[in-house]
């Protein structure tokens, strides 16, 4: 059974919402993990929006044409503008970063949004990139490039989705 999301109590009366901010799609694990995460969050009753650049949005549309996993997509610049201007208030935000730019986006989200921030850091330089994130967030770090399994395991642990072995 899925558990409540970290930072969101069971008694929270408002609709649970999440924003996934994707970075440059050049590292393969990002898209698979985003689809997985969006699907799992939706199963917990969370309304998920995914923001990315035009290539990310096209990848989502091709990968998930019937919107089984990701139902709402938005342009990254639009999402950032809405966060900064206070028009977007996600219950939680998950930022993806495999480069310096990804950390810059996450740092900006941290500054303008009060929602819990999860930062998924991956790619060949994951540890070094993680060192740039000195702001308050929950970091999930794995040196994953092509194979998402270890990163998925860490995400499952953080979000409480580890399957019971009993």
């Amino acid at each position: 059974m899925d558990t409540a999301l970290p930072g969101e109590g069971a008694s929270t009366p408002v609709q649970k919402t999440a924003l996934l901010l994707l970075g440059c799609p050049e590292v393969p694990v990002q898209m698979g993990i985003a689809l997985y995460l969006a699907g799992r969050l939706e199963k917990t009753g969370t309304e998920v929006s995914v923001a990315g650049n035009p290539s990310v949005i096209q990848l989502i549309r091709v990968s998930d044409p019937d919107r089984h996993y990701i139902r709402r997509v938005m342009n990254l610049e639009r999402a950032m503008a809405d966060l900064i201007e206070g028009r977007l208030h996600p219950g939680l935000t998950v930022a993806f970063a495999h480069n310096d730019a990804g950390i810059s986006y996450a740092a900006t989200v941290r500054h303008v949004s009060g929602s819990p921030l999860y930062l998924i850091i991956f790619g060949k330089e994951a540890e070094a990139i993680a060192g740039l994130a000195e702001f308050e967030c929950t970091k999930i770090v794995e040196r994953a490039v092509h194979n998402p399994v270890q990163l998925k395991k860490k995400i499952d642990e953080v979000f409480g989705w580890v399957a019971s072995r009993s």
Binding site: C24, A101, A107, T108, H111
Partner: protein
């Protein structure tokens, strides 16, 4: 890059890290301002890791511009109005 791409700009640094751009502004521009992430400039928002430095060079503004796939660019755009707006923030 939105509206900024349509402006006449000079690229000082390209495909840089955010820190490299910050250090460059610190080392090369006597007049500089610290702004918050999300600071609006030329109808765009600065995306970055604090502290974010914006430099003034004559009638031009020097500022970091971050793109997800290409890193951070340090751009110079001549605009006396933006220079004045930054100075008024003091």
């Amino acid at each position: 890059m939105g509206c900024i791409e349509e402006l006449k700009y000079e690229t000082i640094l390209a495909h840089a890290s955010f820190k490299e751009c910050r250090d460059y502004v610190k080392e090369h521009f006597m007049e500089r301002f610290e702004v918050e992430p999300g600071f609006k400039i030329f109808d765009s928002y600065i995306i970055g890791i604090p502290p974010i430095l914006v430099g003034i060079d004559g009638e031009s503004v020097v500022f970091p511009y971050t793109k997800p796939c290409h890193g951070t660019f340090l751009l110079r755009i001549e605009c006396p109005e933006e220079v004045e707006r930054l100075r008024r923030r003091r």
